[in-house]
Amino acid sequence: MSTITWITARGLFGRRRFLLLLPLPLVLLGLAVLCRSLGVDPGQWGPPVLVGLGLAVVLPVVALIVGTGVLGAEIDDGTVVHILTKPLPRWQIVLPKLGVAAGVAAATVAVPLYVAGVLADSVRLGLALAGAAALGALAYSALFLALSLVTRRPVLLGLVYVLIWEGLLGNFVSGTKVLSIQQYVIALADRIAPTGLLETSVSVPVASVMTALVSVGFTVLAIDRLRSFSVAGETS
């Protein structure tokens, strides 16, 4: 394990905000188990729980907490200087941090989504949801990691993207779905396990290409921004 990965993971798990990750997946899991045990028709509870809660809320919010935490928290408290005063090409800092963020977000979200998918339909749907969510976790993490280098308020901006752009505008202005990671995840999951539970207007090729573009594009942006990272003077 690289030193950056190790410090990032220790920093992430060592902070109290890590505990924020736990409630949402538990709610998802609890609701799925409850619906299944009460014998509710999966056609009724599947879309709101799997998509409405799982893919539209749990995945992006967990990725937001982790994605802005791996570098943004270090920028906030100034400890990032210790890593930056090393003769490392900046991609060697960004990639391990992205790896930790995407890995932690994927693991936190994929497990409850897998269980919920199995309960709603089949093991295949569970795997599809888990796999697509892992890809989504990578794209979201890249976006939020880059945000923490572009703006001083990455969490706020990230929330605006998730809640306003994906959540609100996605319902009314269908064109915005082309720029919505959530829709890519739905399209990819639906492609792997076609059921009546997941619906989106975004095509699979668009979703695949855009997921890759978002992941790579924002990673490159993050590396470039870290290269020109400025520390504001105390007196300025």
């Binding site: 030193t3 950056i4 190790w6 410090i7 220790r10 920093g11 060592g14 408290d77 100034g78 400890t79 200087v81 210790h82 890593i83 930056l84 005063t85 090393k86 003769p87 490392l88 090409p89 900046r90 290269r227 020109s228 990272f229 400025s230 520390v231 003077g233 105390e234 007196t235 300025s236």
Partner: protein, 303 residues
Amino acid sequence: MSTLSLTGVSRWYGNVVAVNDISMALGPGVTGLLGPNGAGKTTLLHMMAGFLSPSRGTVTLDDEPTWRNPDVYRRLGLVSEREAVQGFLTAYEFVLASAKLHRLADPAAAARRAIDLVELESAQDRRIGTYSKGMRQRARVAAALVHDPQVLLLDEPFNGMDPRQRLHMMQLLHTLGDAGRTILFSSHILEEVEQVSGTVQVMVAGRLAASGDFRTIRRLMTNRPHVFAVRSTDDRALAVALIAEPSVSGVELDRTGLTVRAGDYGAFTRALPRIALDRGIRVRQLVPSDESLESVFSYLVEA
């Protein structure tokens, strides 16, 4: 041996000029960067360390720019003013992580050597979060020294240290400077700079106000006219006697008392009690009214 060169360096934020056209070359030895708070010392240090791009001018370490060039950190160490450290790590883990990130051949030995250098062995296995301010500072210095850099920049390194730690840090800087390292530390306290370095760069309001041997600059500072507020039982009689003193260059009398301008600090403070005693005047108050560092600095700028 490394040389850090600044050529016509300026940095502004919008309309505010933080650093104004500074040129200097720093070679081996200890140099103090002296100036009042807000003079632009931190901004200058950040530009030297590659954490800020100059708005104009160039900052180079051995002819390589420091901005957008992580390779300079092989030869450069920085101890910033913000005392942020990963509090969840022990000092040993923290310094070891630094050594590993520098890709040193034997990181464990380098970490132990750096911790020895700052005398932190006894606490090295405790979490940094439990440290005092001075200990945290030493842990950061150890991390900055772990790769034995040619150039070490320290922003207000003595802040928060007790006198013993301060003395130890001063000795450490001396040792490093004598060994041919280029050391630059900033401070707003005259005495700190006096004890550590022979060469100083004085910054005031973003400009380089003075540069060179400390003793020469100190003499410039002490030879300036000093202003005292004096109150006594008979201000008028005291004023008459004082104006006859060669060390006094001017006296003003008003309702609150006397304002005395003295050209020679030592001669005036020795003369006043003698004059008062001879005339049977009791001095109730003697306050130097321009002793703040800022006034010393602004005098330097005017000189």
